[in-house]
């Protein structure tokens, strides 16, 4: 159960090696989290992540989960929930893709869409159903500012996040009153493995800062969280910039 500050006792991370996901898990273990399930594609990195969290005192297990195999989600995730309540699900998987290549190779663009959108729709709905049956819990979805307005530089990734964002918002409304809380997190440029080697965007932030924002959002039961918070204002201005001008804005 979550406590009065929204701190969960059990956590399921979808995308168990995600840097943002693990930073969040560390923060939550320092509070109330004692049980962690890291769901992801089996790899030494996933096991290393589990071992690292165990060091912090949590009971951690890994679960084989592939976003690109939605047919398996019901069974894989169902099993996690049948072992005990999950107070919080962090939907952290995602791929950035390579915009230039993806434009050339539609099938690799489809991978981005299927991972970030289709995979999240499937896993999100399965988790939402299980949380609803529990009568409590938070589903925290890592969206992105890139989904707020598609840009020339990353519109394939951006559009997948736009779809994910709209899906998560709608799901939050659908679950209103069921005891389940859906929180959409929109980070800007986060210095992680995903963005390694790319030129930093203004207002760049860190996985730890995203984790802190998530912890605060849980307490407030926020529905939307921007990281850093200033992006809320920046993006609401950018949203209204006319297309011809928007096209010419410096990218990333």
């Amino acid at each position: 159960m979550k406590d009065a500050f929204g701190a969960p006792q059990s956590l399921l991370v979808l995308g168990g090696t995600s840097e943002i996901g693990l930073a969040t898990a560390r923060r939550l273990i320092a509070r109330r989290t004692r049980t962690v399930r890291l769901a992801g594609r089996p790899s030494p990195a996933l096991e290393r992540a589990a071992a690292e969290l165990r060091e912090l005192g949590a009971e951690v297990r890994t679960v084989a989960f592939d976003a690109l195999d939605p047919a398996s989600h019901e069974e894989v995730l169902g099993k996690v929930f049948s072992d005990g309540d999950i107070d919080m699900v962090l939907l952290a998987f995602g791929i950035l893709g390579d915009q230039a290549r993806d434009e050339e190779e539609p099938l690799s663009a489809v991978q981005v869409a299927q991972t970030n959108y289709t995979g999240a729709v499937s896993a999100g709905l399965v988790c939402a159903g299980a949380l609803q049956a529990q009568g409590h819990g938070s589903l925290v979805v890592l969206s992105s500012v890139a989904g707020e307005r598609a840009r020339r530089a990353d519109f394939i990734y951006g559009s997948s996040k736009a779809g994910l964002d709209a899906f998560a918002q709608g799901l939050g409304d659908a679950l209103h009153g069921t005891g389940v809380h859906v929180m959409v997190v929109r980070p800007g440029f986060v210095r992680s493995r995903m963005t390694a080697g790319r030129e930093e965007a203004p207002l760049a932030t860190t996985p730890g800062a995203v984790a802190d924002a998530i912890v605060t959002g849980l307490r407030r039961r926020s529905e939307t969280v921007w990281v850093p918070g200033a992006l809320r204002v920046v993006m609401s201005a950018l949203r209204h910039v006319p297309r011809p001008l928007f096209r010419r804005l410096p990218v990333r």
Binding site: D3, Q134, G135, H136, G179, R219, R220
Partner: protein, 456 residues
Amino acid sequence: MGDTVTPMSVDTVSMTGWGRTAPTTALRFRPRTYEEAVIAVTGRGPRGVVARGLGRAHGDAAQNAGGSVVDMSALDRVHAIDPAAGTVVCDAGVSLHRLMEELLPLGRFVPVTPSTRFVTVGGAIGADVHGRNHPSAGSFTRHVRSLDLLTADGTVRTVLPGTDLFDATAGGLGLTGVVLSATLALRPVDTSLMSVETERAADLDAALAGLAATDDRLPYAAARIDLMARGKATGRAVLTRGEHTPLDALPARARQAPLEFRPARLPAAPAYVPEGLLGRTSAALLAELRFRGTRAARARRLQRLSAFLHPLDALPGWNRLHGRGGFVQYRFAVGGGQEEALHRVVRRLSLRRCPAFHAVLQRFGEGGSGWLSFPVPGWTLSFGLPAGLPGLARLLDRLDDEVAAAGGRVCLAEDSRMRPETLAAMYPRLADFRALRAELDPDGAFRSDLSRRLAL
């Protein structure tokens, strides 16, 4: 059952405790008869069931995510009042407010009342509540002569004091079953007024000394502590003591209707309140006014019973004043001789300048027989803080450690954030409680968010 054919009300609702934190959703049944209560319990789903009174527990004791909650407030019949024996038999959903309305005209009063009278008899048993007269009266279940308990198998058992099932149920947070009705022993009173003495205490030691010196003549006593005061004034307080006013102490005019019960009520607090309204500045100002407004020397006056015992009840829905984020109540007790721990806690709070509201220090007498009953002989301090206060979660964890190290305990009925690890040290009879539950209710039919959170 009467001739009613309308089905029992059942709906899916989101619930919180009085602190308005951690909402969860459950199926709420509202039985009007014992038979309907049996149906609600036997028809539970896999996530179990728990009773709920008026939801005055601050945390998650009376909610059950994804399961069933039995709202007892419609089971509210007062069956029999025996003025000679001084007892009342009533349903568990009857509120203490209602009992006061019924009993005062007969010159009787509830033996123990918490500082709100909007609690049910079932809730008063489930939390084994205490009042300001704890040193002489003990906690609520000391005055329960018998109770009827609906258990997991759907049977109703009459439970008498002195049995294990009674001791597990007294303060058992609804986890042994649903109390359907109870027989309570009452206290006689001449009037519905209180003779009240107030006095300033310059610091925490003075407040402790004042409470320790309380005499039998004034059985109700409490100190409102100013947790924002610092330096030499740390822990300064306003001490209040009272007794039920005897008839001959009333002015002639009042003697005509000595037992009239007329609690004052203001309009309800507004539904939306901006966060931070009751912040540091206003908390400090109110504390200052209260302290300055009290005469340094003892002053005696007559007060309405409700104004003395239930000051917060005058403002319905006051818990909304803490905004959307809600608030966290912290109540702990430490034994006599552990005053140093009390000092350390008060110092920590004052150094942090926590905008604590309604901080009350009381003395506890002998503990009750309930295995999870809260009071232990010594001291209890309680206060509320806005849940959004930065660093509050950690601060309260530190206080838990302080309290546990002093052999003290945190009150479970008001808790909304404790760690399960700290529990066993605080409640030595926990193992007995678990063993009895395992035998009586092997499938864990009775469960609550609190029982899940603390693995009770």
